[in-house]
């Protein structure tokens, strides 16, 4: 038991130690660089200055991160629902897929930063506008991956269902949808990171009222006012939020995919 536990610890050590060391080295080099070349904090703040900015603004950073997370989660969930429904429609009719898929790609190709102010203008300022931007940027990976999953059922399995005269509905729910789950989760993993980016981009152009602002708002404000250490803190929090999202979806992914182990 003890040996096993030690072995487990060793394994974690081997996984965690190298990147942790890299981090320490990079942070140290960063601080050294500031010190040696005496770079002013408004150009490049050192890690200590950033840490100070974080602790000074911790409350407003956490509040902003919570607001951004809220919009991103809503955008992500909405993209899952709409994306899944769209993919099911595509899988049911080649005609629908052919007519609409090019526009789904078009939607994906439009630079979101360029259209975000328009979306905010049309959908409205505040939470709905931000959710809309987050939703639009997260949608395509869900649609594309789910459609691919739903339509990639092998002919022998289709034959199996045909031989038992399965209805369209049965084919969809008992074969196509479960078959598409791994692909769907791949799409979700891509989209959850995008949903955070979308929320932040949305917040560039709108706040949530006179008191409540998300990370995106603070990124633009601190940039304009050259509060670079605070800007760094915002960027770190945004990245942390993205990682948190990705981590949660990845864990769900692993739990669900245990059953689908053969396919992976």
């Amino acid at each position: 038991m003890v040996a096993e536990a030690t072995g487990h610890m060793m394994k974690i050590f081997r996984i965690v130690l190298p990147p942790a060391l890299t981090l320490v080295v990079v942070v140290a080099a960063w601080q050294l660089l500031i010190f040696v070349f005496s770079i002013p904090p408004y150009i490049l703040p050192g890690p200590l200055v950033v840490a100070a900015a974080i602790s000074k603004h911790l409350d407003s950073l956490l509040h902003a991160a919570a607001l951004t997370a809220q919009a991103a989660i809503a955008g992500f969930v909405l993209s899952l629902l709409v994306g899944f429904t769209t993919a099911v429609m595509f899988s049911q009719s080649e005609w629908i897929e052919r007519s609409l898929y090019p526009y789904a790609i078009f939607l994906q190709t439009v630079p979101i930063v360029a259209v975000a102010p328009l979306i905010v203008l049309w959908i409205g300022h505040g939470l709905t506008g931000v959710i809309a931007v987050s939703f639009i940027i997260s949608l395509f990976p869900i649609v594309a991956n789910t459609t691919a999953g739903l339509t990639s059922v092998t002919p022998p399995l289709r034959d199996l269902f045909a031989l038992h005269d399965a209805s369209r509905w049965q084919l969809l729910w008992k074969l196509q949808v479960p078959h598409a789950v791994p692909a769907m989760l791949t799409g979700a993993r891509i989209s959850c990171g995008l949903s955070v980016i979308g929320a932040i981009v949305g917040e560039f152009f709108t706040g949530y009222g006179t008191q409540d602002f998300g990370l995106g708002y603070w990124i633009t404000q601190t940039n304009v006012h050259v509060k670079t250490p605070y800007l760094f803190a915002c960027v770190l929090f945004s990245t942390g939020l993205g990682l948190l999202f990705f981590g949660v979806v990845s864990v769900l992914n692993r739990l669900v995919l245990r059953r689908w182990a053969a396919a992976h």
């Binding site: 092998t154 034959d159 031989l163 038992h164 078959h179 053969a262």
Partner: protein, 260 residues
Amino acid sequence: MEPKAATTIVARDVDMTFDGGVEALAHVNVAIDAGSFVSIVGPSGCGKSTFLRLVSGLIQASSGSIEVDGAEPSEARRLRRHLSYVLQDATLLDWRPVATNVALPLELRGTAQSEVDQRVEACLQLVGLQDMAHLYPHQLSGGMRMRVSIARALVTEPGLLLMDEPFGALDEISRQRLNHDLLALWCQRQWTCIFVTHSVQEAVFLSQQVMVMTPRPGQIRAVHDVDFPYPRSRSLRTDPAFGRLVARVSEDLVSEDLQS
């Protein structure tokens, strides 16, 4: 639940040409009695699988007629629900454990859950997987996966079992074991069985009749009756008469290939 009566199959002058112009079958005439075990051997791509697909009603013949219990195949399939089909690939659903994989055909036709459970358990017992009900397909060996596939085929108490090289991907030991178990099941239930294989040995060991097909477009070149009594034991494989019959069938199988 009484087993359904076994199925009779009559094919008259069946041609099958696919959309691309590939002629898969030409002038196939076959009569298969209810409850008989018939094997089809032939070179790769000769249309053996096409014939099974025609009998199952998944595809329709270009010309000629196929009657399954006197009806058009897809109609017979829908009305009598008597047919099961086993492929070389076990075609299991990866996300379902063994028990619900076996239950699938009953689930699709809306059978009551209590009856489903009972029949699934009985079928798992038949194929010797009663202790594996909760395992997922990826936890099983190739032979066990095929057993699950057979259990799923038997769960509907079929009158007709179509088998398309079911043991083709298995190692020789699993293959022989499954041959024996399949025959034992057939002796109990006596469904009509059409068994497609590349192996002449396997065909002769299992069947009452072996049909030899020509290369594409497939035609029935010869039909060999196999008179060894059932139940057939392992020792049959080393019987000289068995060897002679295998040799005769093999000769039919390769004769044209050698000429061309």
